[in-house]
Symmetry: C2
Subunit: 327 residues, 2 copies
């Protein structure tokens, strides 16, 4: 991506600000940062994805306008988007009406401010690596377990994007060849067994088989909330506990494979499910990974829960634009 | 690893030579190279692994002595070894009596020549990347399918070793959670389903069940030869064809996962099984990988058979020592 330095950005100025944005299927989060990564101000809006592209862009503008109100000399805007980013454009975003949208050009034209766009899981991993639980790692692998499962890779101290920017689709690695059909139309992907979509499918299936659970039909109307699962888990709900055990098992099998392949020093877990249930699931993940990795390699890997949680993508997006423009 | 420049290596000399060595469980291969990577001379000895450490070292010395006979100014010796290399030493080599042996110090003391030691699959992948089928790739993944399955990773234009030099154990990635016990004591590793050990186990099992095959009991006395499998395949042997179909299927599943994770531009297959049966197995591997990877990522990946074959490790070992010492 070519970064244009606008003339308004004079070098040698004492203070400058940056904006990090996380565009998600349900909400748009934004934050204003100073040069050192201190978060000065935040803003949040519903993304209104179901109402189409123009509405999502309106919501983004509202977030940016609010953040820009009191700030001075914003040198750049970094944005994380749940999709495939190619040459700085959104090439494909399955859960949002922004396919083929040139977000960078839009921001540059609208605000005359430099912009960088990155896949949200990549940005989150970058945030955790710069400011969070993976700080200082040489090689780190991130799993972001929510409705789907995103991944991010830090390899040899930099964000790994692969040959064509498509890397880190960790949720679509196979963990069970004869496993369930995944939303991506593959079979037995990690996402088909350990995501919230998988949890929802299994709860529905078990309810229909007559198994008793505190999860109500109304909880499953939209995708089940992580907090609802956490309450059910704490109440000792057998259906939810059994399903979450499987979720952690498949996450652990994949972690074992990743350890053998990449010998990372850190594996990190974020996303809604892990934020709500990380303490419960992590021990099962670790024990399973141990069963599916070579002992001397397993021993060099630390397992961590996200530190930045919902803010990981914001921090990563901020860091990425700051590094591109030059602090 | 600290490389000591010996005084005998004067800079500015016109010509120099390098030695690459491949220490394997059954044979030790060595070659003398010129600065440009032309192979001047080769030497081969049985490694006599069963006769213990001293014997293996004797055999290595014979190979090196022969290569050094007519050469002048050998600037370095690169060696590939089937094991885990840690701080330049052989930390662990399951199939050879060289555990904990400091091969670098031995060569430096014995020959007063600089030495570099690398895992053999890493060295082979490096050779293929510098001189072979993966030349020019930004990100490439190598599978070396023989008695076991070794792996090598080129990521962002360099050999990827992981945080503690343990990376690329691709043969021990899980491809089937309830799969067979692997030699490493994990379950369902790629190696437990797609290596020559797995093929041998399946042929034995099927023979004992009374299934008809041209593979004789005597063929299975030691590990079955790749050439024997190739002949059986060509004769249309149903047992061998069915087993090799499964071998390729699991290799393909893993390739699909690797594509989704790393978005490599090249996946390369070497090792005895692929040298003998690559043309037959590759189409099945590719078709399976396609079924287990995201289409737009799959489309960016080329599948290749090893070009350097048995010489891959030699070329890689030569390249690695040359780069360490400086050409």
């Amino acid at each position: 991506m070519k970064i244009i330095k606008y003339e308004s950005f004079k070098e040698g100025e004492d203070m400058s600000n940056w904006i990090g944005v996380d565009i998600g299927g349900t909400k748009i989060l934004g934050a204003l940062f100073d040069d050192k990564g201190n978060k000065i101000k935040t803003e949040k809006k519903s993304s209104k994805s179901s109402k189409g592209k123009e509405k999502v862009i309106d919501q983004l503008k509202k977030v940016l306008d609010t953040l820009l109100e009191d700030s001075k000399d914003v040198k750049g805007i970094g944005i994380g988007v749940p999709g495939v980013i190619k040459d700085g454009k959104i090439a494909f975003t399955p859960n949002m009406p922004l396919n083929e949208f040139n977000l960078i050009d839009f921001v540059k034209e609208e605000y005359k401010i430099d912009c960088f766009v990155e896949n949200d899981a990549n940005a989150s991993m970058y945030g955790e690596w710069k400011f969070g639980a993976a700080k200082g790692a040489k090689n780190a692998v991130g799993y972001f377990v929510g409705t789907g499962i995103g991944g991010g890779l830090i390899l040899n101290n930099s964000l790994y994007r692969g040959s064509y920017n498509f890397a880190a689709e960790i949720g679509h690695m196979n963990v069970y060849p004869q496993g369930p059909l995944c939303g991506c139309n593959l079979r037995g992907c990690l996402e088909s067994l350990s995501s919230k979509v998988a949890i929802q499918r299994e709860i529905t299936r078990k309810r229909e088989r007559g198994e008793k659970t505190v999860i109500k039909k109304s909880d499953l109307k939209n995708i089940v909330k992580s907090s609802t699962l956490k309450s059910a888990y704490d109440e000792g709900d057998k259906v939810v506990r059994s399903i979450l055990n499987d979720v952690a098992f498949y996450l652990g099998i994949n972690a074992g494979s990743i350890i053998n392949l990449l010998n990372p020093d850190v594996i990190l877990y974020g996303g809604g499910i892990m934020e709500a249930l990380g303490e419960e699931l992590l021990p099962i993940i670790i024990e399973t990974a141990k069963q599916y990795s070579i002992p001397h390699i397993f021993d060099t890997c630390e397992f961590k829960l996200s530190k930045l949680k919902d803010d990981a993508c914001l921090y990563g997006a901020f860091s990425l634009i700051q590094e591109k423009v030059g602090a």
